[in-house]
Symmetry: C2
Subunit: 209 residues, 2 copies
Amino acid sequence: MREVSEATIRRLPVYHHYLLKTKEMGIAAISSTQIASDLNLTPIQVRKDLEATGLKGKPKVGYAVSDLLGAIETFLEWNKINPAILIGAGHLGYAILGYQGFEHYGLKIAAAFDNDFAKIGKLIHGKPIYSIDSMEKYIREHKTEVGILTVPASSAQELADIMISAGIKAIWSFAPARITTSAKDVIIQHENLASSLAVLFKNINKKSL
Amino acid sequence: MREVSEATIRRLPVYHHYLLKTKEMGIAAISSTQIASDLNLTPIQVRKDLEATGLKGKPKVGYAVSDLLGAIETFLEWNKINPAILIGAGHLGYAILGYQGFEHYGLKIAAAFDNDFAKIGKLIHGKPIYSIDSMEKYIREHKTEVGILTVPASSAQELADIMISAGIKAIWSFAPARITTSAKDVIIQHENLASSLAVLFKNINKKSL
């Protein structure tokens, strides 16, 4: 199979969201030109992105909206649920625990861990908060492979090391620090707000030239 | 000037963060091969990305770390501070108000707006929280052009419309909804966690093939 670019993968959930709205409006088929116009992309880009799912639009008809929704879901494997834990129930952790819709995107946060006694033992958005000291044991017992890190920069690397030694295979980090590991089979994805800001400002400055 | 890709722009703050640490360690020059190895990229990719800043590495010496830091800062215009407001002081809003370092990346959040009387009139991380009813007037008086939207999906479009009619030119939206506008001179950038998750899971599945 052809390698699909990260940019295309990032856009597929955006198409999916848009197509859901389209379907809700009772529209059964849609052209790449229409999608491109509504999402501020070029029709060529849209056709190329959607080809990654294996589906092609038909001339003069476009894409069947339901088929395209299904093809995106299959391609992104949203039917497969990955259990995860969240480390750090601060404001960002709360916001992520309360984020509606992760389960539609293949992620189920099963538990959260924190070192604040005021939070330990409570439920936040229906998820139990456990002591950070029990994290390692939890990961081993539940064979959890995905961890979301929402802690301050100062403790990010230390906690990541413990997570990885206990068996975590993928870390989605929101901590403003760059985490590294020598483990070759572990994926670390940094959510970097500075990167998003850089894109935003470049677009603002491009516009004002 | 050659068009610089969004992927390159997203990576430049990552290089910057890495180079700051390098500089702190007392290292004056670094090769693209070393950068690539530490950041899990290819040397060709690194050289191509850094060329966007106008700086080229020297054979056998590499890049002067301080020069490269300066070139990235200039390219991303981090010296220019864009004042912004934040709409919605919920958990995500709190987390963003408390995010250390936005001012290094050209963003200064001057004020936040919310509809919760318990928050209005207070300071969060040193930023004043005003009533959402006063947002329109504030934007007009301060000629604010950048707005960060951290509200529920249900009120995102309505608030974006008010922001744009008052003069906002760029919206950075964290709301789980797709905002649209007919205003051609307004940039809307959606921060989409589903997109990040899609990339993470694709990388996990690629690894396990």
